[in-house]
């Protein structure tokens, strides 16, 4: 425990280190001095070359890639493969032991077969991984404009060095961390870095201690969505903010996936059983008078018979099939084992922006005429009459359309798309308003051309409003001034309010009404904009009046408002509120998660109010108390829901954090930093939860990597986050996660069934050998036949169980308890070895006895016959009827017995497969809808027929054609399996908690 703490702290220290920069605090001249540059001249080419040599290219070191050969080796020698290798090695040893001691070689080629199986499955899984990781392609960005030697030129962004003067234009991806020297209405999209959905204004002023919050820094990998700037490069490559997060992410290692743990557990059980049984019989054989070498060969044979050779391939194929099924549902699985992890997930930490929400601002509400109207089209249609005659709406709509600089990208293809999908240029909120107005009025562009713009003042973060002046197309000679901006700013400039077509004084009553509406909307987490207009009197501002907006001067000194027209005494029109709305299916998905017993925590960099609003809208928080109350719930262990601000989180110690996550069901973490996300994930894991993290930004990457399963967004996700994740949602749809969880749970259930099926043939494979050893009968089942079962006929049926549909509604039960519910339990082993396997073995021995008896060796003759039977120098072994068999004649009979035993196992496995289809339900309820499974029964039978009857193939596998009626001998046992298992399941359903239930339900 102590070590953990130490590590975490050290780790946090490393993260804290990230923000150790002071370039934003010192004066700009100090920065120039420090990096030996000047804004006008920039660096010299020579100096740039030296710096480039010193710092390396301005590029992220690719995430520490595991060499391909290591990955291949991992597939070849990891987990189950190692057991098989041991098996192969043992076979090889046995081969040599036999070669030098016995003449009858059983193991001549078995080790080669085993080795090929491992190599083939190894390559197969490697190929699967390689295929999914290929989709990860990092994208290169274009050119960067730097000033060198006093001239600006375009260079490859990799060549940028510290001290370069960069020119950034709208739409550029910022190629390095910069300190801003000059900015023109610059806004950067920091969402990949901080998770804030809104573009952040950037300028030259130092506003915050925190480099992420301060205005005068812009970071590598973010986008300049608006405006332009000039800046000096202060960090490049891996030293950039994103670079360090990426490096940190690469350094995080996590433990095994739950399925890997389960498989290891399973391997351990099988190994222990194999070795214990092997040693037991090895010792027994010594007492029975066998030689040491014989005893060792017995030991090896028993161990090999116990290793489920085909299971490795089965598990890989099952996971692959599920991965393919999920890929069809737009869930790209990078790490196959992650599928099951998703199924055992107990906590999902969901990022808000881009995951739960669309990451697209949308108009949510209007407030005018003292009404709040929702913006969706349905609401509008139902109130269309009211709207048609509302003067106030017309005025607000006009203002919203005119006082808006966003436009649709002007190409016919773009314009022919539905409005929602059209590409636009401009500020996110302006685009939202544009799209909304386009949807309501039909043609904004036409309206704008009828009301041409005379002059405008652009929005700036400093003045927080924008205005424009238009000559209107409604035959009114007066110019129209329209203004939009932050409500408190607009409010100050207004003296009247337009209500129900009357312009009345904006008195305290109306101010109160406005106040109420504003609070209501902002409590919904919405961003509120206010609109106002003013008809400029014709006498003062005639038609050809020259408006002087002084835009250039305005940007340099925003507090200098020297217009030659009034900006006060306006008419207040109303409010429009915007929100980044939750995705359509998210609420449904959240509800499903909850019924599946999975807790959903929202972890976002956004503002608590916005976060809480979205959490409410999606059902992550079901508490109806106001957000302020929820914010106070953090230390109250009795509260169900709470909202935590990042600053509060910072002050919490480990114990408090544990309590926070243990006692609150619904938590929203707002304003969280990347390291806090990591802490949240670690805390959950410390409490024994299996954590899934969804995210798209670079800031999510460490948490994605640390989580038991990281889920990245395919469209909005950053490269770093995609690399750190295990699953990528190609359509960014949160609801796909639910499908993933369902598939993950299903695959666990089905793997269990698959293992039960595979293991059930272990006893019929082992028992012949034990009988051979103890009762000295001729060997009923050879090693080659065992491999034919494990790697031939059993493979497809075991895989086909992966297609089995769920028995009950698996999304209505809580997630698997990783500590108690295992893949292979003692009950599964007891069931599959002690019951199903025994019936199969019974069938096998019966058919063996019949084949022997019908050829002359009655059961009484068989006991103790082994030594004579296997002795080559006896050329006249007498059977029960006095016939004398040469060595080769009786070996042909023995191989026929092997074939018959093998066929029996196949035939009894029919119903074992049917029984494994369900664990509780009757077969008649479960149905036979799994066509793959039905086909696999046919397939294994056909394969058995081919092995038995095809010339050359049967010779190669030492099999012989069987008489027709021998095929029907196992049927009573086949039926017995079905009857027994139906009875067992009936007992389990009818008498839960009874001995049958306790000991046989796996």
């Amino acid at each position: 425990m102590f070590r953990e703490k130490l590590k975490t702290r050290k780790h946090l220290e490393a993260l804290k280190h990230e923000i150790d920069l002071d370039e934003h605090k010192v004066s700009i001249n100090e920065v120039y001095r420090r990096y030996g540059t000047s804004p006008a001249m920039g660096l010299s080419d020579e100096r740039a070359a030296v710096l480039l040599e010193r710092d390396g290219p301005n590029d992220l070191t690719p995430m520490r890639k595991i060499p391909e050969i290591v990955r291949l080796a991992k597939n070849m020698f990891g987990g189950f493969a190692i057991l098989l290798w041991i098996g192969a090695f043992l076979c090889f040893t046995a081969h040599f032991l036999e070669f030098y001691t016995l003449d009858d070689l059983q193991y001549d080629n078995v080790w080669i077969a085993l080795a090929s199986v491992i190599i083939i499955t190894g390559f197969f899984s490697y190929y699967q991984q390689a295929k999914s990781s290929k989709i990860m392609e990092s994208f290169k960005y274009l050119q960067a404009c730097v000033v060198r030697h006093g001239r600006s030129r375009n260079i490859n962004p990799e060549k940028i060095v510290i001290g370069d003067i960069l020119e950034i234009r709208r739409g550029d991806r910022i190629p390095a961390d910069i300190r801003i020297i000059r900015a023109h209405g610059l806004k950067v999209d920091n969402s990949s870095l901080t998770g804030e959905s809104e573009p952040q204004a950037r300028g030259i002023e130092y506003t915050n201690d925190d480099p992420l919050e301060t205005r005068n820094l812009a970071f590598f990998g973010t986008f300049a969505v608006e405006g332009s700037c000039i800046g000096v490069v202060i960090r490049t490559g891996d030293k950039t903010f994103i670079g360090r997060i990426a490096n940190l992410t690469a350094g995080i290692e996590r433990g095994n996936t739950p399925i890997a743990i389960e498989i290891n557990h399973f391997i351990r059980i099988i190994t222990i059983i194999a070795i214990v049984v092997g040693l037991l019989f090895c010792i027994c054989s010594l007492f029975l008078g066998y030689t040491y070498i014989e005893a060792v060969v017995f030991l090896i044979s028993i161990i090999v018979a116990q290793v489920p050779e085909g299971l490795l391939a089965t598990v890989t194929v099952c996971l692959t099939l599920t991965a393919q099924r999920m890929a069809r549902k737009n869930c790209l699985v990078k790490n196959l084992e992650a599928i099951e992890t998703l199924g055992s997930t107990t906590v999902i930490c969901a990022d808000k922006t881009g995951t739960l929400t669309q990451n697209q601002m949308t108009v949510a509400h209007f407030w005018f005429d003292n009404h709040i109207i929702a913006s969706d089209i349905d609401a509008f249609q139902s109130q269309s009459n009211y709207l048609k005659f509302s003067h106030c709406w017309n005025a607000l709509g006009r203002c919203a359309m005119l006082c808006n600089t966003a436009i649709f990208k002007d190409d016919s293809l773009n314009l022919s798309k539905p409005i929602v999908h059209r590409q636009c240029e401009g500020d996110a909120s302006e685009i939202a308003i544009l799209k909304c107005m386009e949807a309501i009025t039909g043609n904004v562009a036409l309206f704008r051309s009828k009301n041409p713009k005379i002059c405008e003042v652009q929005f700036a973060s400093s003045n927080r409003y924008q205005l424009s002046i238009h000559s209107t197309g409604d035959h009114d000679e007066r110019y129209l001034l329209v203004m939009k901006g932050a409500p408190e700013k607009i409010l100050k400039n207004c003296s009247t309010i337009y209500v129900d077509g009357c312009e009345i004084e904006f008195n305290t009553y109306w101010k109160k009404q406005y106040e109420k509406a504003f609070n209501e909307l902002s409590n919904l987490g919405e961003r509120v904009l206010a609109f106002a207009d003013y008809r400029l009197p014709l006498n003062k501002y005639p038609r050809d009046y020259q408006f002087d907006c002084d835009t250039i001067n305005f940007h340099v000194n925003p507090y200098y408002e020297n217009f030659n027209f009034p900006t006060t005494g306006l008419r207040f029109l109303g409010l429009i509120s915007l929100i980044d709305p939750p995705r359509v299916n998210v609420a449904e998905a959240v509800r499903k998660c909850r019924s599946a017993g999975i807790r959903l925590l929202m972890v976002t960099g956004d503002h608590p109010l916005t976060a809480a609003a979205i959490a409410r809208a999606t059902g992550i928080i079901t508490d109806h108390n106001s957000t302020d109350v929820l914010l106070k719930n953090a230390y109250d262990n009795n509260a169900r829901s709470c909202v935590i601000h990042g600053n509060t989180l910072k002050t919490m110690n480990k114990q408090q954090l544990d309590n926070l996550i243990k006692y609150h069901q619904e938590i929203v973490f707002a304003r969280t930093s990347p390291q806090q996300k990591l802490i949240i994930v670690e805390t959950c894991q410390r409490l024994g939860e299996i954590v899934a993290v969804t995210g798209d930004g670079v800031n999510d990457a460490p948490a994605l990597k640390k989580a038991d399963i990281g889920i990245a967004m395919g469209i909005t996700g950053s490269d770093v986050s995609k690399q750190a994740s295990d699953i990528i949602l190609l359509d960014d749809n949160f609801a796909s996660i639910i499908t993933g969880i369902e598939e993950g749970r299903l695959i666990f259930d089905n793997l269990k069934k698959s293992i039960c099926y595979t293991l059930s043939s272990k006893i019929p494979e082992l028992a012949p050998f034990l009988f051979y050893m103890i009762f000295q009968i001729p060997l009923p089942l050879g090693t080659i036949a065992i491999l034919c079962i494990d790697l031939g006929t059993d493979m497809l049926p075991a895989i086909s169980l992966a297609y089995e549909r769920a028995e009950s509604d698996i999304m209505k039960r809580p997630p698997r308890d990783a500590k108690r519910e295992h893949l292979a339990t003692d009950r599964l082993i007891s069931m599959s070895y002690g019951q199903l396997g025994m019936i199969q073995a019974g069938g096998g021995f019966f058919v063996y006895t019949v084949v022997m008896a019908e050829n002359g060796f009655l059961p009484s003759r068989l006991f103790g016959l082994r030594k004579s039977w296997d002795s080559r120098s006896i050329n006249d072994l007498e059977d029960s009827y006095g016939q004398e068999w040469t060595y080769y004649q009786r070996k042909a009979l023995e191989d026929t017995c092997h074939t018959a035993f093998f066929v029996t196992v196949v035939i009894v496995q029919w119903t074992v497969l049917l029984c494994c289809k369900s664990r509780r339900n009757s077969l008649f309820r479960q149905g036979m809808a799994n066509q793959v499974l039905n086909m696999s029964i046919v397939f294994e039978t056909v394969l058995a027929i081919l092995i038995s009857y095809t010339p050359y193939i049967n010779r190669g596998l030492m099999m012989y054609p069987l008489k027709l009626h021998w095929w029907f001998l196992p049927l009573p046992f086949t039926l017995l399996v079905l009857i027994y298992d139906e009875w067992r399941k009936w007992m389990i359903r009818k008498f839960p908690g009874s001995i049958i239930d306790q000991e046989t339900s796996y």
């Binding site: 001691t101 433990g255 002359g856 120098s873 004398e884 060595y887 026929t896």
Partner: protein, 318 residues
């Protein structure tokens, strides 16, 4: 849950060892707890009551399963024919893709079973040697005595088999083993329904039976496997039912076919031929191959169909 936050940090060897021991201790403790839990008196996760319940369940299960197995098998056994197997001749597994329906040969004495060596070895040493090989001669004699016991029945039957002229090959003479002139008994394997056919002789017959031309029965002939063996083997005397010869032995086809048992009793007497090696070279291991020849007798040296191979070794010149 184990947290592996920072793997890059190097740990000292001491730390690693301490980790290893602590996990080992923890694991062994939990394993011990699993094997016997003192708190709940549980052995391997179950208490006495549950164990006995489980045992009872499995007892019932296996009794029922075993009962069904025995019932099913006994029903099946009732319908098996008594004197002959259900499948004989070409239907049985005596006939398969690698073995046509044809008998093998076998020899007596047959005493030592070796898994490794496909050839029987007959090892003779004189009594004055200090080797403990003397037992061999007694073993061989006893083995032959036991085999010939079957033929001393009083019941007269047309199929009874006797060789009147056996030369030295009798029990009193220790079948010639004490003299270094061993007698080997050669017989054809019993196969139900198999009747050997005498081979029609061709003019250009290259086979080894060329010297046995004119015998109206199935000829038996032994030779050294290689020219070297042939040189060492010396003189061979054949004692057959019809005659004794130094060229080849013979088996009369009137003894065939074998028809299985009669009411589960052995009534059939297998025809055989005595072969006596009269002057083999001592101190040399000699490989001998004996063959029978017939139109429907298939010869396969490896599978020992229609042939038998064995080795002779005489320790000292007597």
């Amino acid at each position: 849950m184990h947290l592996k936050t920072n793997s890059k940090r190097r740990r000292s060897i001491g730390e690693r060892c301490r980790d290893f021991w602590s996990t080992l201790h923890k694991k062994s403790h939990s394993l011990g707890n699993f094997i016997y839990n003192k708190e709940h008196h549980e052995l391997f996760g179950r208490d006495g009551k549950r164990w006995s319940k489980l045992a009872a369940f499995y007892f019932c299960f296996y009794v029922v399963l075993g009962g069904m197995f025995c019932l099913y098998l006994s029903i099946f056994m009732i319908f098996l024919p008594i004197n002959q197997p259900r499948y004989i001749g070409k239907d049985s597994q005596l006939t398969s893709r690698s073995n046509p329906f044809s008998p093998g040969l076998s020899i007596r004495p047959q005493v030592r079973l070796t898994l490794k060596d496909p050839l029987a070895l007959i090892w003779l040493s004189s009594s004055d040697e200090k080797y403990p090989m003397n037992d061999n001669i007694e073993m061989y004699t006893k083995n032959l005595d036991d085999f010939l016991n079957n033929y001393n029945t009083n019941a007269q039957n047309s199929k009874n088999f006797t060789i009147h002229d056996v030369g030295d090959c009798n029990s009193n003479n220790h079948y010639g083993y004490t003299d270094g002139k061993p007698c080997i008994l050669i017989k054809i394997n019993k196969l139900i329904g198999f009747i050997p056919e005498v081979r029609k002789i061709h003019a250009n017959n290259r086979h080894d039976d060329s010297e046995c031309i004119g015998i109206s029965n199935i000829p038996v002939r032994c030779m050294g496997e290689n020219p070297f063996d042939q040189d060492m083997i010396g003189k061979i005397q054949y004692y057959s039912e019809s005659e004794s010869s130094d060229v080849c032995g013979s088996i009369d086809i009137k003894h065939f076919p074998y028809n299985g048992k009669d009411d589960r009793n052995n009534v059939y007497q297998t025809p055989y031929v005595w072969i006596q090696f009269r002057n083999i070279t001592p101190h040399v291991l000699i490989s001998v191959e004996c063959r029978i020849f017939g139109a429907n007798i298939f010869y396969d040296k490896i599978a020992q169909l229609g042939s038998i191979r064995f080795q002779l070794y005489l320790n000292k010149k007597i």
